[in-house]
């Protein structure tokens, strides 16, 4: 699981579904969640949260192009491990370390090497939040 700490910057809510923007210190990350400011006390501007997303939900690309993903982080490959089917790639971004698990096939197709520039892409519906406290 990837975990990045941040602060809630903006909330757009409708019928119990919210699009939340979180400033991580290295760029904003967006999450679509089923919480609203009415339903949950950490859903406040300025509240500290952990942003959680699974390694298997992080896609990698050489360029992000025109795609529906809201969360695109520029980074450099800082570590990798290959199995027979899967590959784990550690990417250093301004928001911190992001671990991605992709297929070995994709890994080879992208030709990833240590130090290579890469974009880490996360769908906002796959991002969860955990409240840490509300500023007083």
């Amino acid at each position: 699981m990837n975990r990045v700490q941040g602060r809630i910057l903006g909330i757009e809510a409708s019928d119990g579904v919210s699009l939340v923007d979180i400033e991580t210190g290295g760029g904003a990350i967006s999450a679509v969640i089923l919480e609203t400011p009415e339903s949950s006390e950490y859903m406040r501007l300025g509240a500290e949260v952990y942003v959680l997303f699974k390694e298997t939900e992080v896609a990698l690309g050489l360029d992000a192009g025109k795609m529906s993903y809201l969360n695109v982080f520029d980074g450099k490959v800082s570590g990798m491990r290959c199995g027979r089917v899967l590959a784990e790639v550690v990417v250093w971004t301004a928001a911190g370390e992001i671990v991605s698990i992709i297929t070995k096939r994709s890994f080879e197709r992208l030709g990833l090497k240590e130090g290579a520039r890469v974009k880490a892409v996360i769908k906002s519906t796959e991002v969860a939040l955990q409240g840490l406290g509300v500023p007083s």
Binding site: L34, E35, S40, R81, L86, V99, I101, A128, G131
Partner: protein, 310 residues
Amino acid sequence: MIEAHLEKDLFGASGPFRLSVNFRVDDGQCVTFYGPSGAGKTTILRMLAGLETPQEGFISVNGELWFDARKRVLLPSRKRRVGFVFQSYALFPNMTVGENVAYAMQKTSAVKLEDLLDLAGILELKDRYPSTLSGGQQQRVALIRAISREPMILLLDEPLSALDVSTRLELQDEILRIHRLLGAATILVSHDKQEVFRMADMVLSIKEGRIHAEGSPREVFFKRRFSPKFAVTGRVLAIERADIVFRAFVSTGTEMLQVILGERDAKRFKPGDEVLVASKAFNPMLLPLFEPFETKELRQVCQAGVGYID
């Protein structure tokens, strides 16, 4: 509605302590006392039922004073309209199911014995003796006996802990159904988190005679606020390597789940750990539990009255 303040010196495994609790349970609410054995949970139920007397405090049920230490009020147990279900069923072995329930009913009751038994689906057991019934059946009888007096409050003291998992789940539904039907304040003593999650509107977590946490099960058991809506508690059974990732087997009571973990997470957990299995509400897919087996042709044949093809 129950309002109570109870104080009494008790002896626990690690020496004497004072039971000191304040709580309120509204009609229609199911509240759980959760905590280790010897924390005073059963004592609280016994005090509400009038089987034990507090040293200080009061008990008020629907505005009626059942106990008040200062005003020297003590309503005897038999006058308290309480339904009590024990872990040990506590049925009379020499009476049939019907006799057990009839014995508890008030003579003036407008409710018929048969209707009550039917309510719990145990009408066909009416003439059987408790020793010939399964644990689940005996507890159904005990539950029906408890509500036969149309109690103002329903007290359940670990009623399901002696039963196997599938019977327990069935009876949890049964208890919830009867609790809603009765509309009374229900108090459940339990040390099973999954049961508490499933049944309780509110949890009072008790340790050494004190309430140290209260709130919804989620608030009490997971203090940090967490957005995932798809979450179940479970226990890690095993973690196995699978290519470069790990596969955790998690038991959640009735189901066995598998969760893929990265290496770092795999190192954080070990078999036996209690965990929350969480996913975003966006991920899970719903599939029909029973796929319709008949083909369009077969349906047409049946509708045409040709007969059933085996």
